[in-house]
């Protein structure tokens, strides 16, 4: 019997009253037909809200199908007509204690979906019963309902003790109930931003036990939850990985990838290298399976994740190159990703195969893809020295095919190859020059012109070649123009006799006849250089250029580590941290701040900026007014003021000093809350120890903390403070991590963090100074080789003069106390260069300090360039 007929009703005038009549028909089957018609009308967007009471009338039935249809209608309309939804409450409550568990579950489920505050009030009692229902189907439904309720009214869930009931469900005998409880708790954690589910041994065992038995979706929830925990204990990590590993063989790809995520996040804590190796070996084949047997959408997600995994642990798929070979009918998005991974996996031993595949790829029809394939060949040439010859040969073959975009792309990559291997492949220049007049893309043209200029002395007709471009100089894109100016100047410096006119002409055009400021600037610089000191011009223009290198590692290490924790999630597909592409649901949400709810500002803090990654908690423009300076310590506070400079001047400073606190928020400004704070390093992590004293009349609670963006990227972890009764004091310690999204320019000194602390009476602002010697991680030591290779890969961009107290030895001791680690020393008399490493969070900072032969200098390098200014500031203080 087809349901399509219900759509055909048309919108005749009497339709509604006809339906109304049918909804009250004596016979149940007629009523059911009528409700179906109403829902059909609703589906196509007709307004059937006036039938609410009539449809609701049908809810009193033992026919489950009819009941479901009525519930469906009610969910859709309750929001529009909350007054009428109340009418359904009685029935919901009755159904929630029906004999049939399906009906009980249906009622509780539907009530949770009706987002009307007044209905919510009536939900509590039935929900409590259903959470303890004897039927697991009802319990698993009720567990999810708690999450729905939390979204409507967090306060209700907390005050009614539903969280505790949910936690009790973790011990349920039915694994699917456990899984749904985990799913609900995770959702609540997401909404509230706090940790509810703690990794205790018993919780862990419950989750792992349920993992084997629950549904596939439940497995995903449990695995995701497991991946959020961490343990430093190698044995624990190993046993968790072992018990999760069988999930790698699940038919559901979501389960497989979630298991990979758990193993990747615990694997680093496993000390036994054999166990680590074993796990890597186990992860390889399932990842390959995702690529060979699954739908293209799944392949794509898998490939994006494999991209991260290969960067983090190349060994897992090092020998699976063939899987990434491109298939003729792969969708283009899959082909592109495969190409990327092939470049990463390319090595000397497999380069023949890989090049062959790239060559095939370059003869496909999709232009974008072909270009990427050609570019891939160039990247392999630069990455693998020994393969460069072969790569160049393949590129030449491709150029011979005379397909315009292939030729142009080849020339672009050959330019890069010349920059990596200067003076090795001039023999091919002749072939390239033959294609000069077919080039019509700016980048290809510019590349070719660069090659001609760079090798002008070996190209007999270089002047004629370049001259041919000059006639249309003004029609060229600025990229080509800039390259032309440089190339002609190079040519002139190499062959001054016969090119004087040409250089004159091109500089004239660049300086007089253009309004492009970049071009004009470059023209003038060359002009002045040439006219004042041709020798100097030679040194500048023809000077030796640094070699380029291909880093297949595209994501810097700190970011990679963060992304690896997000494996299987959307972040792993975008290769961006979640905060940068989805609004985090209700960061720190509070039911009392209902006003903000209607708009986007679900945070309690004023003027949340949508622009940045992490919400920027302050209005930066008005920061001067809104943030009062740290006030002087109050006399009666049990704190000492620490003299930071004195403290630093003793080189033997350890890190286990007793923490001295300073009052950062006096009670007058804190509405009765006094806060004292002091920083310390413990267990390899920076902590902010807080003493909160309640001098107000009422208990203080609901504490939450946020930091403003700051130069070291300090981020607070979860603040756990119990309610503070009047005239009592609570001590707490807040672990501080470093998070790339928290980077921001310095407001004052780099080591000052502006903090917002919220409690039930308001939001209060203060700032805390973290002594520079506490900023760097204990894990800042790196091997000499790693250090050197990274050091060499970066230019000397941050060289500053500094005042240094003491000689290189005493400085070493002093910096060691601040977790800056000595790496190596180099003496070039009379100067001495000492190298140090340090870590801010995961980010490696490197510095060279020079002694002797004039004022001391520091030369700072880091892949996390945004940290350098703050790091330099730290060094000024620490070296003094």
């Amino acid at each position: 019997m087809s349901d399509a007929k219900y759509f055909g009703g048309g919108s005749k005038k009497g339709e509604i009253s006809e339906l109304q009549e049918e909804l009250h028909h004596q016979r149940e089957d007629k009523r059911k037909e009528a409700v179906k018609k109403v829902i059909a009308a609703m589906t196509v967007g007709k307004d059937v809200s006036m039938l609410f009471t009539d449809v609701l009338n049908c809810i009193q039935t033992n026919n489950l199908e009819l009941k479901k249809l009525v519930y469906l209608y009610v969910i859709n309309h309750a929001k529009l007509q909350p007054e009428k939804a109340i009418l359904a409450v009685n029935t919901f409550q009755k159904d929630a204690s029906d004999l049939n568990p399906l009906v009980r579950a249906l009622a509780i489920r539907t009530m949770g979906c009706i987002r009307v505050d007044r209905v919510t009030e009536y939900l509590c009692e039935p929900l409590r019963n259903c959470l303890k229902d004897k039927d697991p189907y009802v319990r698993k439904t009720a567990a999810l309902c708690v999450a729905k309720l939390y979204d409507l009214s967090a306060e209700l869930v907390e005050t009614q003790g539903f969280l505790e009931l949910l936690i009790q469900l973790l011990s349920d005998s039915n694994p699917t109930v456990v899984a749904n409880a985990v799913a609900a708790l995770t959702e609540i954690e997401d909404i509230s931003g706090r940790t509810i589910l703690q990794l205790t041994a018993s919780n862990l065992n419950k989750l792992l036990a349920a993992l084997n038995e629950c549904t596939e979706w439940g497995q995903v929830f449990i695995l995701n939850s497991l991946s959020k925990f961490s343990t430093a204990d190698s044995k624990d990590a190993e046993s968790i990985c072992e018990r999760v590993a069988p999930r790698l063989n699940h038919a559901n790809s979501a389960v497989v990838l979630a298991a990979v995520k758990v193993i990747m996040s615990y694997m680093d804590h496993i000390e036994n290298p054999e166990a680590q190796k074993g796990l890597c070996k186990k992860m390889g084949p399932p990842l390959v399976t995702l690529l060979t047997t699954k739908e293209p959408e799944i392949q794509y997600v898998a490939l994006r994740n494999i991209n991260l995994i290969v960067q983090k642990k190349p060994s897992i798929l090092a020998h699976e190159m063939r899987v990434f070979f491109i298939k003729y009918n792969d969708p283009i998005y899959v082909k592109m990703e495969k190409l990327e991974i092939m470049i990463m996996l390319a090595a000397e031993r497999n380069i023949e195969q890989v090049l062959n595949e790239f060559k095939e790829a370059a003869s496909e029809v999709d232009v974008e893809f072909v270009r990427k394939a050609v570019r891939a060949i160039g990247r392999c040439a630069i990455k693998i020295d020994k393969a460069a010859d072969r790569c160049v040969a393949v590129l030449l073959e491709l150029i011979q095919m005379k397909v315009s975009y292939v030729v142009q792309e080849s020339i672009i990559v050959i330019k890069d190859i010349f920059r990596k291997y200067p003076n090795q492949y001039e023999s091919i220049i002749a072939t390239l020059c033959q294609n000069l007049d077919t080039l019509d893309e700016p980048e290809a043209k510019a590349s070719m012109i660069w090659i001609v200029g760079e090798y002008a002395e070996r190209i007999e007709n270089a002047d004629a070649l370049l001259d041919s471009f000059l006639d249309n100089f003004h029609d060229e894109s600025s990229q080509v123009q800039l390259q032309l100016v440089t190339a002609v100047v190079k040519l002139f410096l190499k062959r001054p006799k016969d090119t004087q006119d040409m250089v004159q002409k091109v500089l004239n055009m660049a300086t007089q006849e253009t309004d492009n400021p970049d071009l004009r600037d470059r023209g003038y610089i060359y002009w002045r250089l040439l006219s004042t000191d041709p020798e100097a011009a030679k040194n500048v223009v023809l000077g030796e250029k640094p070699l380029i290198s291909e880093s297949t590692i595209q994501i810097d290490e700190a970011m990679l580590s963060l992304l690896c924790r997000e494996i299987s999630s959307l972040a792993s597909v975008y290769h961006k941290l979640p905060d940068t592409f989805v609004t985090k649901l209700k960061e720190v949400r509070k039911d009392k701040v209902k006003k903000d709810r209607e708009t986007d500002g679900e945070s309690l803090l004023p003027q949340e900026q949508q622009g940045g990654g992490q919400p920027n908690i302050f209005d930066l423009d008005s920061v001067g007014e809104s943030l009062p300076q740290t006030s002087a310590p109050a006399a009666r506070a049990p704190v000492n003021v620490m003299d930071e400079l004195d403290f630093l001047s003793s080189p033997s400073t350890g890190v286990s000093q007793p923490v001295s606190k300073e009052i950062v928020l006096p009670a007058e400004r804190g509405n009765g809350m006094q806060v004292a704070a002091g920083a310390a390093r413990r267990g390899g992590q920076l902590h902010l120890d807080l003493t909160i004293q309640n001098q107000a009349g009422a208990p203080l609670g609901d504490f939450a903390i946020q930091f403003n963006k700051n130069p070291f990227g300090f981020a607070p972890t979860q603040l756990q403070v119990p309610p503070v009764n009047p005239m009592s004091t609570v001590e707490t310690s807040l672990a501080i991590s470093n998070h790339p999204n928290m980077f921001g320019p310095a407001q004052q000194a780099a080591n000052i963090i502006q903090i917002a602390l919220k409690n039930n009476s308001g939001v209060f602002y203060f700032q805390v100074t973290i002594p520079f010697h506490l900023i760097f991680s204990e894990a800042g030591e790196v091997s000499r080789d790693d250090y050197l290779s990274q050091w060499r890969s970066m230019p000397d961009e941050h060289v500053r003069e500094v005042q240094v107290a003491g000689d290189s030895n005493s400085v070493q001791g002093k910096l060691r106390g601040a977790n800056l680690f000595y790496v190596a020393k180099r003496t070039v008399a009379p100067q001495e260069f000492v190298y140090f490493s340090a870590k801010v969070g995961e980010a490696l900072m490197m510095v060279e300090v020079s002694f002797g032969g004039g004022p001391s200098r520091i030369n700072t390098k880091s892949r996390s360039a945004e940290l350098i200014p703050a790091f330099e500031q730290a060094l000024y203080t620490l070296l003094r």
Binding site: D29, D190, A251, A254, I298
Partner: protein, 366 residues
């Protein structure tokens, strides 16, 4: 940077787009797998192909299924066996009876299956004849170079089961040579630990049709057929010559061979003929299809012909020739089933196992 409020994840199946909206960080694979499952469930409910018409036709069931399969964004009941207990699929018989007596489609009693320890199996299954059929279908993916060497070859297998067994049967499938399997992925019903220890696939099956496991086989394998395409272009047209023949198939016949040649855009007409089988050429898509029921013993099949091209022809165009075929009772991987045993029930079921090898993505470069 732009913060979006919602993200959309979609899959396209049989001209229907299944779209999911997400408002926060989630596991995209979970969403994709769920949408895929939705499509499969619709398939089992509305007959094999899901179309706009069939969704319209069954909108009440669609609503009921959506309602049951998902709760507030969480996948709920997705096992076809459990679903069919709560929401019986439409069929002609029920439609007739329902129309006369006004009986509901909905079962009013609680399904015990969905919350049992094996949620994939209905409770109280009764069959008059107990039988179980296992199809082991292997497909070969390979890309073959112009020189006849395979750039890569992969064999992936699927074990599809049609199970009509009463009660709660506990089955064990033994392979003679499980060591050849490189990777396996199992239906939730399979006890993985048992497999890990003794390589036995032990399970309590769902009732009806389901996919028991997928596997991949390691090592290089011989392709059962060869295709030698020679397609050359010169200034005044092109020549086509494609030869097909069989290689090692353990004495089994290669059937239903289809060779597909997609010609490049600059080909205007093609005159093709074959000494065996039938050739069809579509002028619009420029695709030639050569169909052979089998490979004859007495001669080697050859497709030949001429192409005319436009001026824009490039000499170095290499169409990729695709091949399809099927070999019954043959496993290209060499996988062998030893026995299938039944515990927990006293009846003697009828058991059938058959192998099929077919071409997956089989491409020959010319």
């Amino acid at each position: 940077m732009n913060l979006t409020k919602y993200l959309a994840i979609h899959i396209l199946r049989e001209d229907l787009c299944y779209l999911a909206i997400v408002a926060k960080e989630c596991s995209p694979l979970l969403v994709i797998e769920f949408l895929q499952r939705l499509h499969e469930v619709f398939g089992t409910y509305f007959g094999q192909s899901v179309t706009e018409a069939s969704v319209r036709e069954n909108f009440v069931i669609v609503y009921q299924l959506l309602d049951e399969m998902m709760d507030n964004g969480f996948p709920f009941t997705t096992e076809p066996n459990s679903l069919s207990e709560i929401i019986p699929p439409p069929n002609v018989f029920r439609a007739v009876v329902g129309g006369i007596t006004g009986q509901s489609n909905m079962k009013a009693d609680m399904n015990t299956g969905s919350m049992s320890m094996h949620p994939w199996r209905k409770a109280g299954v009764r069959h008059t004849t107990n039988e179980i059929y296992i199809d082991i279908i292997e497909s070969i993916d390979s890309t073959v170079e112009t020189n006849g060497m395979a750039a890569h070859t992969e064999v992936s297998g699927e074990v599809a089961v049609q199970c009509k067994l009463s009660g709660i049967p506990d089955l064990s499938l033994f392979f003679s040579n499980p060591h050849i399997l490189d990777d396996v992925s199992f239906h939730p019903c399979v006890r993985y630990n048992r497999y890990e220890q003794s390589k036995v696939v032990s399970f309590i099956p769902p009732d009806g049709n389901f996919k028991l496991m997928n596997y991949r086989v390691k090592g290089q394998l011989q392709l059962p057929i060869y295709v030698k395409p020679q397609i050359t272009f010169s200034t005044n047209g092109g020549r086509v010559n494609v030869m097909v023949g069989s290689k090692t198939t353990g004495g089994k016949v290669v059937e239903d061979i289809i060779i597909t040649i997609p010609f490049p855009k600059f080909v205007t007409t093609a005159t093709l003929s074959a000494n065996y089988g039938t050739v069809q050429y579509d002028d619009i898509t420029r695709i030639a299809k050569w169909t052979l029921s089998k490979i004859p013993k007495d001669k080697s099949p050859i497709l030949e012909g001429n192409l005319s091209t436009t001026a824009a022809a490039t000499m170095d165009s290499n169409p990729v020739v695709q091949a399809e075929f099927k070999i019954m009772q043959y496993a290209s991987s060499g996988l062998k089933v030893d026995t299938l045993t039944l515990h927990n029930e006293s009846y003697k079921p009828y058991k059938g196992v058959r192998f099929i090898t077919k071409a997956g993505k089989l491409h020959f470069r010319s």
